[in-house]
Symmetry: C2
Subunit: 309 residues, 2 copies
């Protein structure tokens, strides 16, 4: 669905800001609490947080993260799910979110309603309170940025730092072909899996794969090491080539380092019991730099999604 | 300064994302803490919060909130200060912020450096930690949205709700002509004043004036009342007309209802002792609807800044 309308009477600018804010609250429904804990004051009020908190921000931008082929409800859900995937990568659970919307006055009311209804349904599903936001106008733009606040689910917050030479590299789900298959908006953020993995000390470092494995894996690689990937092991999404699995981006899967000293057999049995429907694949190891075994992939031959290129 | 450059070698896209993120961290300097408490992981980690928290989000968009006449350092500072003004209106103090940047690849590295250095200096001044962010590319856009997390400074959080018929209406500072005088980026958010006012029970409701008094005042007006403003009392910024003071917007001043049963003389003396340099003006009262005294302004004759019109 095209976000723009040619008919002024069907555009958001025909309503004006006040009516629009009123509509947004209605479209979000129970996903937004009453003031001062929801939309409507200078700030929203959040309860105290007894433990450490997590915060992340990610946008969806027209012609970049979605186009006319993506249903507006799915765009709203994608906005939240992109951020939930970041939270999953640290082992967190979501609490509350604020949304900054920037849009052209010619965007149709109907598109925006569907967008917010999709966001609201997704927020209720994942128990996220949409507590506030902002609406600004700018010509030619349809974009929204969501800031997500979360909490740790256990004593440990998983980070990208901590992998060691000899650790095994694992990834959840499948890689590649995200755009062609619609995975880029249909994916489910790995919140349960992330929380489970963060509780295990043998999971040394974790992140989500969103710009393509070839690019993202650098952030997990410890000093003096290089990732040695088994080309046949990569879990390809249907129709995806090896190159696509390495470079496509928008996989929203969890990538982690598993201690080389721990028992992988037991780990995989535990995983299979906990997550029957989420594939888990050992895709390689962190080898000492320059000592990757023959037959492993050289990541420098591939490039993930580079923003600003 | 124009954010765009015609020379590819001087643009942000010449650097690419990774180098840019590295530069942003350097430009922010001490305003951003080390990982996992700052930029660089999937989420940033925030400490526990023993009391209730406040959250708000506001953007700056090229050709809307700034143009080539505004120095990029001032744009960065304005982004934070707009949000600080919202926090001040609830009596809060800032804690941490995340920034979502959306920009055209042809934006110059130099403009962006100045923007982040301005943001960083402002963040250090107000003791805000810039803990995370996102950079996304979109053609023709230079925009940034900042989400600010704060905490209450005392037992009470001031809201827009609570004014009563008979309450006096006060405003800090001066109104109107914000664009012409540069006040729209030079203003100082009223954080100390907001915290002081929120502690007083006789201050019944508070907000910040950002879309023009004539529009914003509606949100403070209790049911069954109407604001009766004394036209001669409005504190005009130099060069501003009465209409401009009512409708210009971007004043970033505090507007509040003071209990009609409390002692205004004592209140004003207390204020003058606490804030020598911040003017405070009683601009009217909340009259019963339809019973405004003769000579007071009819707000429906004026309109503040309407987004999406």
């Amino acid at each position: 669905m095209n976000p723009f309308t040619r008919h002024h009477s069907q555009s958001v600018s025909a309503d004006g800001e006040e009516k629009l804010l009123h509509s947004i609250r209605r479209w979000l429904g129970r996903a937004t609490p009453g003031t001062p804990f929801g939309i409507g004051d200078d700030c929203a009020v959040l309860p105290a947080s007894p433990g450490r908190q997590l915060i992340t921000v990610d946008p969806v931008i027209y012609q970049r993260h979605f186009d006319n082929r993506v249903p507006p409800r799915a765009v709203g859900a994608k906005l939240l799910k992109r951020n939930l995937s970041d939270l999953a990568a640290m082992g967190g659970r979501p609490v509350a979110a604020v949304v900054a919307l920037t849009l052209d006055g010619r965007v149709s009311r109907r598109w925006l309603e569907e967008f917010y209804r999709g966001l609201g349904a997704c927020a209720r599903h994942y128990r996220v309170a949409i507590v506030g936001g902002d609406v600004a106008q700018a010509d030619g733009i349809v974009a929204a940025s969501l800031t997500l606040l979360g909490a740790a689910t256990g004593p440990r917050i998983a980070t990208r730092t901590g992998a060691q030479v000899g650790d095994a590299i694992y990834v959840t789900g499948e890689l590649g072909g995200s755009l062609a298959t619609g995975h880029h908006y249909r994916f489910q953020p790995r919140l349960r899996e992330g929380a489970w993995l963060a509780r295990r000390q043998d999971v040394r470092a974790m992140m989500d794969v969103s710009d393509g494995l070839a690019k993202d894996l650098h952030a997990l690689t410890p000093r003096g090491a290089e990732p040695a990937l088994f080309p046949d092991a990569l879990p390809l999404r249907r129709g995806a080539t090896l190159r696509q699995a390495l470079t496509d981006g928008e996989d929203y899967e969890l990538l982690f380092a598993f201690s080389g000293a721990a028992d992988p057999g037991r780990f995989c049995r535990d995983w299979a019991r906990a997550f029957r429907r989420t594939p888990l694949t050992r895709i390689g190891t962190f080898a000492p730099r320059g000592q990757s075994p023959a037959g492993t992939l050289r990541l420098r031959d591939f490039q993930g999604y580079e923003h600003l290129r």
